[in-house]
């Protein structure tokens, strides 16, 4: 059985295969009712808009059906049911389970109890492989991923999208620049692992140090709850805000990405520059998730 749990489970050829399939779906090269007799359970025990809706959209586009749980309050988890039990029950209803959960490792655990494929749609500060695939897909649309310079900016400690993406990029000979406020730097264990995988990782405090060298700038949300008070949050958040003024002398093909939702990290005026690609990136969630759903329910 094919589960999609962590980017660590993938080799480069697996990622390229899935990205090629996504490209076919994007180009409309597929049977519209490919998953007609299939049903996916979307178990989202943590808030999500884009991920949940794009999985639902992907199922609908392939002619499949879905059932969903959208919050802990609406589920038996509030009665103390374990995830293991919920998964065993859902395995009897659906052909695949898409799981978003606040605990790290939840999707791995779910895959041990499920009798149908599990797709990790984000587990705590851990992994978010479908987001990573759509990030790679968006980059690949504009340039070959091999050997480029990518800057990751924002909350790199708790930001699961940054961890997953960094691991994937290490398979493509990318030079990684991390740019994070004090206390929100990428965990030492992940940097260690990236370097073990042969990746060049350069750590920065200030985005201006490196902006002109980048092919891709990946911005993540700095969450207010990580700071002791509003003043320190605004102080840090404002110094990490991307504005059009910063984008003079950047590379012509620079691509700014963001997993969304944003909370002020990117000035809306940047949306009108040719560098802003985050809405296109969000749209790419659908063909990428179509490819994933199709692969696991083959």
């Amino acid at each position: 059985m094919y589960h999609i749990i962590s980017i660590r489970d993938f080799e480069r050829r697996d990622l390229d295969y899935l990205l090629d399939r996504a490209q076919e779906f994007d180009a409309g090269k597929y049977q519209p009712r490919m998953l007609e007799d299939k049903l996916a359970a979307l178990l989202f025990v943590e808030p999500s808009t884009r991920t949940r809706m794009s999985f639902a959209t992907a199922m609908a586009r392939l002619g499949g059906m879905w059932i969903s749980v959208d919050s802990v309050e609406a589920s038996s988890i509030v009665k103390g049911e374990t995830l293991a039990d919920t998964i065993r029950v859902l395995s009897g209803y659906a052909d695949a389970i898409v799981l978003r959960h606040p605990k790290e490792g939840a999707a791995r655990l779910a895959s041990e109890f499920a009798t149908v494929p599990v797709i990790n749609a984000g587990d705590g500060a851990g992994q978010h492989p479908s987001q990573t695939l759509l990030d790679l897909y968006t980059i690949r649309q504009a340039m070959p991923v091999d050997g480029i310079s990518v800057g990751l900016l924002g909350d790199l400690r708790y930001g699961r999208t940054a961890h997953s993406l960094a691991l994937a990029l290490s398979l493509y000979g990318v030079t990684l620049h991390t740019i994070a406020p004090e206390g929100l730097e990428m965990p030492e264990s992940i940097i260690f692992e990236l370097r073990e995988r042969g990746m060049e990782v350069v750590e920065h405090k200030d985005v201006q140090e490196v902006l002109q060298e980048l092919d891709v700038l990946y911005v993540t949300r700095i969450q207010r709850e990580r700071f002791p008070d509003s003043a320190s949050y605004y102080n840090v958040a404002s110094s990490y805000r991307i504005t059009p003024d910063l984008l003079t002398d950047v590379r012509e093909h620079l691509m700014i990405l963001h997993p969304l939702p944003r909370a002020g990290e990117i000035d809306p005026a940047v949306d009108r520059t040719p560098y802003a690609r985050y809405f296109e990136q969000a749209r790419n969630g659908v063909p990428v998730r179509m490819a994933l759903l199709r692969e696991v329910m083959r």
């Binding site: 374990t82 293991a84 959960h101 790290e104 490792g105 041990e112 264990s189």
Partner: protein
């Protein structure tokens, strides 16, 4: 040191049947027992010697467990904290088997994941599982890496 040296007395008496774990890193005997699941409430007759002089290690600990022959996969779990340990299976006062310990590739139920957000630190019916890497132990569920002080995380 000799068992018959009258100036030193008899440190630990020989056992008739059971297992002797020798060459344990000094100070780790109690952790070894913890990993083996041998606690005060178990029925085994135990002898423990700590900080005994050793030609090879300088100081070492020794554990003797009477009437129980530990299996290889049981004792391999102690390799992380006592990599030089030697296991002697004793039958009728004689060493019937002698073996070293080998660090296993996967460690189950021995170490608790230090990540409070890890799914294994909840009420789920699962056992902590770590992959043993050169760099340390990686949680199979949340990918947390324990690089040092492994003994602090023993369940």
């Amino acid at each position: 040191m000799s068992r018959t040296d009258p100036s030193r007395g008899l440190l630990v008496s020989p056992i008739r049947n059971g297992t002797v774990i020798d060459h344990i890193t000094a100070g780790e005997a109690l952790n070894v027992l913890k990993i083996l699941g041998i606690t005060g409430s178990t029925r085994e007759c135990l002898s423990i010697a700590t900080n005994v002089e050793s030609k090879r290690l300088g100081r070492k600990d020794i554990v003797k467990v009477e009437n129980r022959e530990l299996r290889k996969e049981e004792v391999d779990r102690i390799a992380l904290i006592a990599p030089h340990a030697k296991i002697n299976i004793i039958r009728e006062y004689q060493v019937a088997e002698k073996k070293g310990v080998k660090i296993p590739k996967i460690l189950k139920g021995v170490v608790r994941c230090p990540n409070p957000g890890c799914i294994t630190n909840s009420s789920e019916p699962t056992e902590s599982t770590f992959e043993v890497l050169e760099a340390g132990l990686r949680c199979f569920y949340c990918d947390w890496l324990i690089k040092d002080n492994i003994a602090n995380h023993i369940i």
